[in-house]
């Protein structure tokens, strides 16, 4: 009887430990303004000198439903021949990070669907392989090269730990 109980307890503890380890998410800070993340990100973007911030109409029309995000920063290439672009959103009590991520994914799909394939062909992989990442309350989408994305992700993770 004792042996049976001890076997059961060990199994439950083992299982619980594994489940907890598997389900525990990395915690991130939620007190970093987006404007403090921008100088961390942009030195790592190859064509950062072509980036500019469009007005809020761009967010309003292309990211519908993000009105309740506590902060938004969208940086897009406005010169040269690069497609480089990234956007940062910060969730709020009214709009969670998961919802924001879904909206960002929808935006990237729209961009892909609207791609005419007539210009900047060498840049298309950035759009095709664009990614959305969540860091706690922060959501980041990237239309960047693979190398730039990897460096930006690492830098943002480090900044928000």
């Amino acid at each position: 009887m004792k042996q049976r109980i001890s076997t059961l307890v060990i199994a439950v503890i083992l299982l619980s430990s594994l489940l907890l380890a598997g389900c525990t998410k990395q915690t991130f800070r939620n007190d970093v303004p987006l404007l403090e993340l921008q100088p961390i990100i942009e030195p790592l973007v190859t064509h950062a000198d072509h980036l500019d911030t469009l007005d809020d109409d761009y967010r309003r029309f292309n990211f519908p439903g993000t009105e309740d995000a506590s902060e938004v920063l969208i940086r897009q290439s406005v010169s040269g021949t690069s497609l480089d672009e990234y956007g940062l959103f910060r969730a709020s009590e009214l709009l969670g990070a998961d919802e924001i991520a879904d909206i960002c994914s929808a935006y990237l799909k729209q961009r892909n669907d609207a791609w005419l394939g007539l210009y900047m062909l060498e840049e298309y992989p950035k759009l095709r392989d664009a990614e959305v990442k969540i860091f706690g309350e922060y959501v980041l989408y990237m239309i960047l090269s693979e190398e730039d994305k990897a460096e930006v992700i690492s830098a943002v993770e480090a900044a928000l730990k």
Binding site: D57, F61, S105, A114, G117, E131
Partner: protein
């Protein structure tokens, strides 16, 4: 010990351990596959194939979809435009009227009506701002200065979408620098500015977004150069051989041109309905006006455009 009281404790222990092991394995697999959600998502690959097409003597290659199932263009060819820079427009043969059933424009005082031919001098006083459908005017050398013309304002990457138009930089031909359209207007103070924009956005923009963004662009130029006479040219049509008709087609284009007219009315500028002489009877871009991709014009097509511009002058 009675048979019905018999209990194999070792078997029970084995079963518990086996269940725990199975559960352990399931959890490990679950974690590896991606129990932690990070919101990553990649758009589906379109799977399109592309090859590069180069405008005649253009500096930058322009990539086009591979025409793996090219269909013969059976639309009516427009009569050749015979207007040379010093010839009168009266010598040209008017193209057949289109009866495509596409959206007709409402009557408006903003629409530029037919005038006597204002000639090459008028054309020489115009700056053309737009996307790749405007860039071709320099590539084909149809303006004074040929391929070195100073009259074409387009971005370096050859494309311009309305939702970026205010901040997107064009290559200012006077200096070679990249500046915004408003900055260019402030420097050049053009007498006339013909804007041809919208085709890159109609696949995803609704009317509100289209009008909002176009209006912002026009107002930014008006602020920078108040005396410039701004003309919003209709979006050009596409041919039946255009590869992305599901995204951009003449029904959407003619609908968007009603929005362009609204912008012209709201901003107090003029609208030029050039599309009216570019459509064949089936509602497609004349086959002999395009370069083969169904969207971009050749020299013949641009001559038709210029002919229309100089015979529908902004004379108020």
């Amino acid at each position: 010990m009675k048979d019905n009281e018999y209990f194999d404790q070792s078997l029970f222990n084995k079963l518990v351990c086996a269940a725990a092991a199975v559960a352990l394995i399931c959890v490990i697999i679950f974690v590896i596959v991606g129990a932690v959600s990070d919101g990553s998502g990649k758009p589906e690959e379109t799977g399109d194939d592309f090859e590069t097409y180069v405008f005649p003597d253009a500096d930058e290659p322009v990539s086009l979809p591979v025409e793996t199932t090219a269909e013969p263009v059976e639309t009516t060819a427009a009569p050749e435009t015979t207007v040379a820079p010093d010839q009168s427009a009266a010598e040209t043969t008017a193209p057949a009227e289109a009866d495509s059933g596409l959206t007709a424009l409402p009557a408006s005082s903003a629409i530029l009506t037919e005038t006597p031919d204002l000639g090459q001098t008028y054309i020489d006083s115009i700056i053309f701002l737009g996307d790749s459908t405007t860039y071709g005017m320099s590539a084909y050398g149809v303006l004074t200065g040929g391929k070195e013309t100073k009259q074409v304002w387009t971005p370096q990457n050859g494309t311009l979408t309305l939702d970026q138009a205010v901040k997107k930089k064009i290559v200012f031909p006077n200096t070679g620098l990249e500046i915004t359209p408003a900055e260019a207007a402030e420097q050049a103070l053009p007498e006339y500015l013909v804007i041809t924009l919208g085709v890159n956005g109609i696949s995803f923009m609704n009317e509100e977004q289209f009008i909002t963004e176009y209006t912002k662009l026009v107002k930014s130029i008006q602020t920078a150069s108040p005396n410039t006479r701004i003309i919003l040219q209709s979006i050009f049509p596409v041919g039946s051989n255009y590869k992305n008709l599901n995204a951009i087609n003449n029904e959407a284009i003619t609908r968007a041109n009603t929005w362009v007219l609204k912008v012209a009315e709201n901003c107090g500028v003029k609208y030029l309905d050039t599309i009216s002489v570019l459509l064949d009877s089936d509602g497609w871009l004349y086959s002999n006006y395009q370069n083969g991709d169904g969207m971009h014009f050749n020299a013949e097509g641009y001559k038709a455009v210029l002919n229309y511009i100089r015979t529908h002058g902004y004379t108020d």
